[in-house]
Symmetry: D2
Subunit: 333 residues, 4 copies
């Protein structure tokens, strides 16, 4: 971390600041230029609050040289992390094909979709039980009953299951869930993240609608700082001024994340675009950008889906898509 | 709600759709044009999922005519709501002057600030006990101890207190908190909103960093649908591409919200700009725009504040600001 | 176009509005519901100003059913347009490999880069002569001299050339330029667009930093309405809150544009990301998303480039990239 | 300017970089820390291309300490600039009340509006002659004829006039225009800015829809670098994800600009919100934020206006607004 001091900083102020840094266990290296004094800090600066420094009167600007996250940082962990989700590996060359309906609706529905996507090559089953809905009057998911139906589909097909948690108190129902999803709206629900950090279960952490890549990594750090290093990141579109798609899928996030972290990065083109016809091209694009997996909504009867039918593709479309994804993976090797 | 059907919608499809609407208790009015068929719906359409409709093959577009919220809607409640916060009225001409430090730090600090801002005309005391921080390594607030210190400052000054809750399980500590704040990051923490809807305590609901005005109203509706109609809305800046201020304060939201809802609307210029020097002009602007109150960070020693010192003003600055706010309130009458 | 009238619209007002529509050559179809009156318009509504309608007191909302552009609209021109750029075809399965330096600097530089990229499969040479720079004190390009050097590189290699025009009066220097580029900052320079519409030369129209896909199509329509139908669209990143990349490359725009228009759509990953290391993954992603070509900055000495060196790749990197692009094109067939 | 070098920068690379800086007339101050080498630059760094530096392999990060603009910079010109527009002073305590219709339509219309707004206290008349419209099929303004009508209204009322230029070649018609407006879409039309820099006429420079405050100042610098220091800045809303208003009025830009520049800053609430009912509260808010003037659309018959009727207020509403603006100006003194 490098702090540039204002021209009019007094010697007394500089001394006070240096003492403050030393009290926090940091080495201090001062360099006086003609017009500015620059302080370089050596040591673990992750615990320094950069906003606090920037608020001090004598400080012109502060710049981190090392990133504010450690456990998620590729510098300290150069090899790709490989996360084991109920026996299925993700990351480091292992590709996640997560598929299933937006919401679990009935036993028949979830089992039929699970069997179909498995036959096409999916290796993890998704399905929403607790549904975050903008309106209190919209369908809120089958909740505990939905998780039970997912467990049945898992028993039937052998596919590990992923579903979203919305609050700490729901976690008691997640005992048999292989991968716990934190949705975009909860990416900065820090109490929930801390609780998940105390578990060992793999966590699928979705990027918030208006969160930066660095904030996504800081949220991963919340989980990892608690001891749970099994985190998978998911790009799912950010909110911009463009309205032709529901959100704007930020595929550049994939190579940027791969530089900054060792954690696997998957992409959800269904929620990002909100349009079934866009799922195929954006799945192929995500794969070509180097994603470690795809999370895709598949419904056996999209027109009658209880939620988000607009973005679901059919099992037939998924089958064709899965084959093309493999071709693209081969092409970029 | 009006749905425009695609040109190639078959009579069978139209009939099916109309039955589906009627099953939901809606009156259906069909109008066949040369090229398009239009369906108008009469009745309570708040429970209709507009995304679901838009996903149907035969539908060109859907448009709500009435808003998707009811309890928060000014159409059904034309008079301004006046919320009572520990004896202090907000809304309908009553102005909230909420002030205090970003974080509660010590008894001396919170009591000194409380006495100072009260003397300048503040009528509610703020102070963070549970702090949502981007980094797990940053100061997370004094938590339960912070709430106790707030209670002492309340006893000393008589000012009602407001502080932020981050998770349902913390609520047991909020028994003596007069106004419970939901922070920007939790605006769509729907489980928390539902729980708050079961209480009677007034809620201060902050707009999320990337949430629309309509989503803010839908989150208020979550609380109100549960029976708690004591909701105060707070504009606190949205995330845009501009980096000169921390966020972009959207003051247009004040008159827009006043049109759409009867709930009071206050403004937080401290978090919005993140710059102490901007608090005064933006406080005056918010007042001139018609806000029902201001929430301002005041610290007796901003440079040594444990968090967000950059945006706190001193008690002396607050005193001068409070006087100017009154002048502007007078001017726009 | 469908207009929903407000509940309290009087018969007199409705009659006036209908006359106004009929005066503009439109057929009017009125449908009275219990609560709202709906007016459907039949005919050419592109000349109707939707903002004007929305401003009228009696109108609740207006919704276009047909798009406000005609020449660029795929509905009226279902087949892909194929644009001929100095003998090189683009669109309808023909792929543009546009490469070259950000700025033309010297004869040696532009000729060396041209020969290198041609050897790797590039079919059009790019190079900036007039440079739009944020600062008046930054290098503004070699201007007329730069165009002459591009012409020499064209003579040497046979590659058609593309370069940016910033103002109408510069066009007299563009006689031998095969493809005239309109930069992001000029996407809504309507006077320039009108002038280009009077020419026959192919135009490369880049999407503005904060422009919607529909606005991009409306700007294409400006050129086409003048008679020049040789327009190629280019996605080059939009401005969002994310700062990890210079802009956010909106690859969803590729399939969305392919649905809405018959014009070819290429992608510029160099300007979008601003980071040389991101050019390869985003080029492959753009190709997988179905783009009709790529525009990539290549410099034989990126570290000493006079402008935008940070985003240029070397000829060796381009060679490897071009081979991978072909593999991905094969994979998605 | 301070450059932080990467850990692995060789002595040879550092020497080369220092020579490069010295060749550009800059003093170089090197400071070697344990892990990083820091180079401080002394002298005129406005001509240094920060993007170029950031692209160099050996550079970790670069940070400007002084701003990249000089003529517009308050540091070099601490007093407020006062701009004379046809005898009316703006800035330094002088308040611009600019009012008039979106488009000039007829002699009767522009003269009637001019007389009405003058009677209410307006001191400059606005009216669009050349209209930038998204669609080529929308009304494009009366053009030269519109300017002549503005001149007549000026003769009648004595009010100086402001109207927008869209292209260099139109300037010959602007001989009698007192204040030449550069619209949001042309804020980075650098050729136009350069041409205006060669004139002496005052320029009203509107902020682009997606431009930062710093970019606005760089565009002012383009004009000023050419010798024309008579620049007035105008905040008119930026593009965000929020759709309740046409754009999001960024009132924080007013105090930020007042810190950074000596140029006057006015606000256009009509275009920013696009809603006539929002013009009053946002005008008062802009005034309270310290703006040096307001630019407001007034039409004697908003419902029949040829363009942007939705955001125009009536002369009666303007009269009431103007009185309230004066009250707020008094209140914040």
């Amino acid at each position: 971390m490098v702090a540039i001091l204002k021209k009019d900083a007094s010697q007394q102020q500089i001394d006070n600041l240096c003492s403050w840094f030393k009290d926090r266990g940091l080495g201090v290296h001062i360099s006086k230029g003609e017009s500015h004094t620059i302080i370089g800090l050596v040591g673990d600066t992750t615990r320094i609050d950069i906003d606090l420094l920037q608020g001090l009167d004598i400080i012109e600007s502060v710049r981190r040289i090392s990133e504010p996250y450690k456990s998620a940082n590729r510098s300290f962990h150069p090899e790709d992390s490989v996360i084991d989700v109920g026996g299925v590996k993700i990351g480091g060359g292992h590709f996640a094909m997560i598929a299933g309906p937006c919401s679990v609706e009935t036993r028949d529905q979830i089992c039929a979709v699970a069997q179909a996507v498995k036959a096409s090559g999916a290796n993890i089953l998704r399905g929403g039980a607790f549904k975050p809905r903008t309106s209190p009057y919209s369908f809120q998911g089958l909740q505990g009953e939905g998780i039970k139906l997912l467990e049945e589909a898992k028993k039937l097909t052998g596919l590990p299951i992923v579903t979203e948690v919305m609050d700490i108190h729901q976690l008691e129902l997640f005992e048999n869930v292989d991968l716990i999803q934190v949705g975009a709206r909860n990416m900065q629900n820090f109490e929930l993240l801390k609780e998940l950090g105390r578990m060992e279960r793999p966590i699928l952490l979705k990027r918030g609608l208006a969160n930066t890549i660095q904030e996504l990594l800081m949220s991963a750090e919340y989980i990892m700082a608690g001891g749970n290093e099994n985190v998978i990141l998911c790009e799912r579109g950010i909110r911009t001024y463009e309205t032709a798609t529901r959100n704007t899928l930020d595929l550049s996030a994939v190579p940027v994340l791969h530089e900054k972290t060792h954690l696997p990065v998957i992409v959800d083109p269904s929620h990002a675009t909100g349009i079934a016809r866009m799922v195929r091209p954006m799945s192929l694009a995500a794969t070509a950008a180097g994603a470690d997996g795809l999370m895709i909504e598949v419904h056996n009867d999209p027109k009658n889906a209880l939620c988000d039918g607009a973005q679901s593709i059919t099992p037939e479309q998924y089958d064709e898509l899965a084959r093309k994804v493999n071709c693209v993976r081969e092409a970029i090797k």
